[in-house]
Amino acid sequence: MATYRELLAQVKREIDEVGAAEARARVGEALFVDVRERDEWEEGVVPGAVHIPRGNLESRIEGLVPDRSREIVLYCSGGSRSAFAAKALQELGYENISSLTGGFTDWKRNGFPIETPRSLSPDQRRRYSRHLLIPEVGEVGQERLLGGRVLLIGAGGLGSPASLYLAAAGVGTLGIVDADVVDDSNLQRQIVHSTETLGEAKVLSAKRTIEALNPDVEVKAYEERLTSENVERIFGEGWDVIVDGADNFPTRYLVNDASIWHGIPVVHGSIYRFEGQVTVFNPGEGPCYRCLFPTPPPPELAPSCAEGGVLGVLPGIVGSLQANEALKLVLGIGESLQGRLLLLDALGTTIDEVSVQRDPACPVCGEHPTITEYVDYVEFCQGVRG
């Protein structure tokens, strides 16, 4: 029977080891996996490393690294636990595994860069446990959400579910722009408000509901209509994503132009009766709202929900799809709806998709922009058929 020391020596002969200097050159290329315990991880890590405690390594690695040819550098504090970990990953078929000799202790002794991970509180670990279990989110992703900033245009039908799901997910800062007060005709669909908040400013009603749902979330309430005059101040506060649930065309075009000039992606949603449209406009990467709809329709072709009605659950579906896109953009995962417009028909329960392409002649995001400052958006949207 082998002693621990003999077993370790034998394992080390069967795996590849890498020294601190050599490993440092692999930062940014190889995936660093920290196999230490949580308390050790919290005190400092190799920049960009992911944390899988040794005890969970075999069960979690496939979810995190499906590609078995990916280069992985494992480390612990001194190089022993990571040696056993390397052996285990070899047995799972991983082909490009090495263990950091001397571990994190030697890394620090060399004066190589370290970072201190922001760590979730025990309460947060319970609250977000279902996110932490998803490899694509995990603790790093949850931290990203908590540091995330999403601006919602409108606290109405689309803003209600979108803000609630973003808040529940732990997006740390939600800005909400809306000048309206809660009306009883809103409550058939605007689930962030309630009978108790009738007559209250929508942004304050939403703020109360959201902060009651999740105290991790700070709501910045802008009780005003988005205009050419205030858009710079509001967008200039720095947002990762804008969720556009406005109820009129002038605001849609204003949000578009401002988002391009600020370089902020917009998750667009719109609804009418049983039908919804959802897409993502990512400045510089994909098409914008003007590429999709260069000219607003005349009023008779663009009735609002107030004129034509809307099925109460429809904004729930479309707003939730917007929240999904916004979360993916903040997390930097998955495929966004950039370049694709989803068309939802709640009556037939069908979803169609059409492609949206960047227009090289677009007056705002095209090759030779002709609109380079804010225009009178109300006039622009009225001026359609002369």
């Binding site: 849609r252 609804i271 039908e275 329709p297 072709l301 068309l343 492609s355 949206v356 227009d359």
Partner: protein, 89 residues
């Protein structure tokens, strides 16, 4: 024979139908066929002999503005008419 999806904002013009069947080889012919049967539709689809700029037309999921415009051949694909909708309400 081309299936054409009619958006809610144009259904009054076509007697409430959600989908129509149009005849023709090109987008223009199909839309003219529909406009012939539902004259109110014409003013909402055409402007100065071209496609009205506020209506998007998709053939097989592609915007005809990125194809051959009204001369795009339909080739058995279905068509979608799509005006912008503002509502987030």
């Amino acid at each position: 024979m081309t299936k054409v999806r009619i958006p809610p904002t144009l259904r009054n013009e076509v007697g409430g139908e959600r989908e129509l069947i149009g005849e023709g080889e090109t987008v223009r012919e199909v839309l003219e066929d529909l406009s012939g049967r539902y004259p109110a539709l014409e003013a909402q689809l055409f402007e100065a002999g071209g496609l009205a700029p506020f209506v998007n037309v998709y053939v097989g999921g592609e915007d005809v503005r990125t194809l051959e415009g009204l001369e795009t051949r339909v080739n058995g694909s279905s068509m979608i008419l799509l005006p912008a909708m503002a509502g987030g309400c």
